[in-house]
Symmetry: C3
Amino acid sequence: MNDAVGLIGHAQNAYARCIDSGNLEAWPDFFEDECTYKITTAENYAQKLEAGVIFANSKGMLRDRVASLREANIYEPHVYRHFLGQPWIVAQDASEVRSETSFFVARIMRDGTTDVYATGRYIDAYKLSAAGPKLRERIVVCDSSRFDTLLALPL
Amino acid sequence: MNDAVGLIGHAQNAYARCIDSGNLEAWPDFFEDECTYKITTAENYAQKLEAGVIFANSKGMLRDRVASLREANIYEPHVYRHFLGQPWIVAQDASEVRSETSFFVARIMRDGTTDVYATGRYIDAYKLSAAGPKLRERIVVCDSSRFDTLLALPL
Amino acid sequence: MNDAVGLIGHAQNAYARCIDSGNLEAWPDFFEDECTYKITTAENYAQKLEAGVIFANSKGMLRDRVASLREANIYEPHVYRHFLGQPWIVAQDASEVRSETSFFVARIMRDGTTDVYATGRYIDAYKLSAAGPKLRERIVVCDSSRFDTLLALPL
């Protein structure tokens, strides 16, 4: 079990580091070609409501999202800083690890204001291969149902 | 030493996960039958003042607390999200590990507001057995002496 | 790689614990005699601007800083609580480990107010020896460019 905690913990750290350093173009590479990425709320998730704030089901869609963020660039400049709990291993076999990981994201606006942007948990399915773990599915379940309209950078 | 960090880190993660998922009925099971659970402030703790905000000395008292929370249900609905530092191993032998662990708890109110609810450290004595580590003593030392009257869910 | 994560993670935990417990006199001992300690902003760091908020290049300067904090004592009493991400190992050989670690510091004022004081990353060079890792260089890169004039305790 501990090996999986270490392996997934390292993958999560790389993911957070990618976004926090602003290297959004590399973000889709944490996913399999066929993948699910969804941002939803705890309330919707508990009620099994499909409606998510953001939904993508291929790496191509994730790339499109980054491209439109870069082009549109209408959002107020800001950066994120992710903090992650230790991954909780829900299930694992030779080819896949399912885990849940608490996240806390601080947002730092251009003017220096820092606030608690979002808290919640990642519900993940990591596909294992020689190239390292890749996300087959990430469901980002936010604790709060109140979303800032600035929602722009990936969580 | 690293084995203890891994073992206690996993136990702390399970504890946080239990509360954050709202599964309060399972919370007393992280404790021994005879146990101490206390919430106090850094100021009181430093002065060795006994007065704590909350005090229990048996698993039964912890169960009573959960039951009254469920029945009374007078508090405004909210959830917690715990973030824990790496445990610091203070002492260990074959049957017990003493550790200190920083915590940060975000509170998410029903209306979606998220704030920093409490920070501090857990001062723990974990009893080891084949069934895994159980808390013989947890002293929750909060950094702030200002307590929200909403104090309801366990820390 | 995992050994270095464990080793540096433990050192970072000890460092945070030292400051959060108010034991500032022990803080310089986390550094080599010849060392660099700098606090700067992400903006300045990205532009390779030398100007930092705080700069020291010897353990003696760190000791002086603690001494003047203790003597002057003009700042409003407050404590910190550090939360650290898993260290990211950038490079390592037999004598040195270079790592980057996200930090989040909550500040608790005397009146009990708690806020997000600073977020950012430590860019570190840890010298390895039988006595354990010591900092040859720590650059504290704060995400926000807005600094509270209370900046007093070390980060």
